[in-house]
Each structure stands twice: as structure tokens, then as C-alpha cells.
Symmetry: C2
Subunit: 198 residues, 2 copies
Amino acid sequence: MPENSSTKKELFRTAARLFKEKGYRATSMQDIASQLGIQKPSLYYYISSKEDLLKEIAWVTMKMLIDAIEKIAFSPLSPREKIEKIIESHVKLICENLDLFTVSLREINPINAETFWSDVVALRDRYENYVRSIIRVGKESGDFKRDMDEKLAGFALLGALNWTIRWYSPQGEKSPEEIANAWKKIFMDGFLAEKEES
Amino acid sequence: MPENSSTKKELFRTAARLFKEKGYRATSMQDIASQLGIQKPSLYYYISSKEDLLKEIAWVTMKMLIDAIEKIAFSPLSPREKIEKIIESHVKLICENLDLFTVSLREINPINAETFWSDVVALRDRYENYVRSIIRVGKESGDFKRDMDEKLAGFALLGALNWTIRWYSPQGEKSPEEIANAWKKIFMDGFLAEKEES
């Protein structure tokens, strides 16, 4: 079985689906091999251990977010447009890669600190920092409220976005575009109805 | 060791702290007994199994949220004031019971469906429904934007609130009050600066 990126991608997707459904600990390398229709030793051609596999899945997932946000952050868009684009791309990535994101966001936690802390958590921190920087620039440019705390605003936004893994279903009634559009309005304008013009 | 609620509370807090730090699966009943300074058999006076303990912890945690939201939902406050009170109480409960909430929110997921689905998930759904109903009433009363989807607005709000377990630290720079105040402003008014009066 020659190494190629589509096989590895298939391996990641299959493993992520099993980790999501059965849990990381309850899934064995044999389960993954069986699902892929290959012998267990062949798996070790691609990855060195189950832990390594989980780590690579988390890294690939965070990398998707980073690639998307770097395109947005370094574009000539306004801070407001950048945040709106981030909402769109983050929702879309989660909905289209639900197993990968569910497993990654569930497993990146202090229990796995020793395994993950260095590279995956560094990517996560980079993502958070882009969001905060864009909000800060937006405060300075007058797009956003000056008294807003960019850290707490960022946590609210990323919390809403990441929590999507807990309720989104591809069979559900809302498309990723509808979710993103609703949230762009909420985060930009809030819940309150416009006050009547005096 | 006579059964009393303070001992049981201590048992829940100790177990939650261990489940949070080591993970639910990696924590043994012996670990919990050792931390409490009691013999392992004494634990079984209070709970029948580790799974039962986790389930009770999740139930108690959801019950705190439900008790708080029912006081708010059935008060004479306006829909806007109710949502603001929910933000305050939800943030405060998470920050003051961080281990309980971290474990409960982490473990209430489809993997545990068979164990938890019936009563704990019913409480979670009830909480979500209160939030949606208050938003819906607020749309009808003119407090909130009429074109807002109450389900998606509710998910954004609960996502932000629940994600607090992933970043809040009692040693951090922000108090629960500061977090709640910042988020009340964000969810009511959004990120955008007020347009200048014409």
C-alpha cells in the first residue's frame, strides 16, 4: 500500500469517525484497520501509534482553521468583514469536517497536555490571537465598540463557533450558510431590536 | 459514616476534580476513596458504581442550571432582563463549580447516550427550551430583532457560556462578574460601534 495523501486522509476520516462514535480510548487500532479493510500491520506504515494518530488528526484540524484565518487576516478586508469571514469559514469547516473537529476539540484538553500541548495547542493559541488582533484593530479603527474586551469577545465568538460540534447535524434543518448568516448578525448587531428613529 | 448531604457533596466535588484532572476512565474508585481518606467499601454506601457517580454529578450540575433559569423564567422581568440574568447566573455557576461543569459538559455526549440520555439530557433540553422561549417572547414583545432565529441565537449564547469551561481559571484576570457584564453587552448590542447620531 503506497503512501499517498488520499489514503492518509481516508485513514484520518475513518479513525475520526470511530473516535467520535466509540470514544478515543474504546477504539482499537484493529477497529480502524477493519473499517479500512486492511491488515493491522499496514496501519503502522502510516502512523506509529493510536496516540500519534489522534495527535495528527488534531493537528490537521487546527491547520485547516489556521490556513483559513491567515488568508482572511492578511487580506485587505475591514475588521468587520474579517470577523464575518471568520464566522463563515469556521462554521463551514466544522460542518464539513464534523468528525475531525468533534474529536479534536473534545480531546484537546488539559488531560492530554503532555501529548498535545506543544504543537496543537500552539496552533490553537495562534488562531485565538488572530481573532483578538482583528477585534483590537477594529476597536482602533472605530468599526467595533471601544470598550469591548477583545479577549472576552474572542472567547464568546470562539465558544459559539466551537460549540457547533455539540449540536450540528448534516441532517438538521439549518445549512452552514444559514448558521453563519444568523451568527454574523448576532455578533455584529446583537439581540436587541433597533431603537426607533427619533 | 452516616449519609448526609455535606459528605455526599464532598464526594461529588472530589470525584469531579479527579475526573477533570485525570479523566473519567483513568480515575478509579480507589483513587476517589484515597482522596477522601476513607475505605473503598464506604464509597458504596453513597453510590453504586463509578458510572452512577458520574451520572449523579452530571444530574446535579444540570439541576443547578435548571433551578437558576426557572427562577428567572417565571419572574416578572422583561425578556431582555431575563437573558441578561441567565448570562450572569450561567457564568457564575460555571466559574464557582468549574470541576463539576467541566466533567459534566465534557461527558454528556453521544458516546454516553445509553447511560445519560434519559434524565440528564432531558434537563439539558429543558434548559435550552427556556432560553429559546424567552428569546421568542422577546421577539414578539419587540425587545429582540424579529428576524432572529431563536434556536440559532440560543446555540450561540449557550455555546459561548458553556465554552467557559475550556478557558476560565479562578486565578485568571477576569472575575465572573466582568465576564458576564462583557457578554451581556456583546449579546445585546453586538460588536459594532454605535453609528453616529445624524
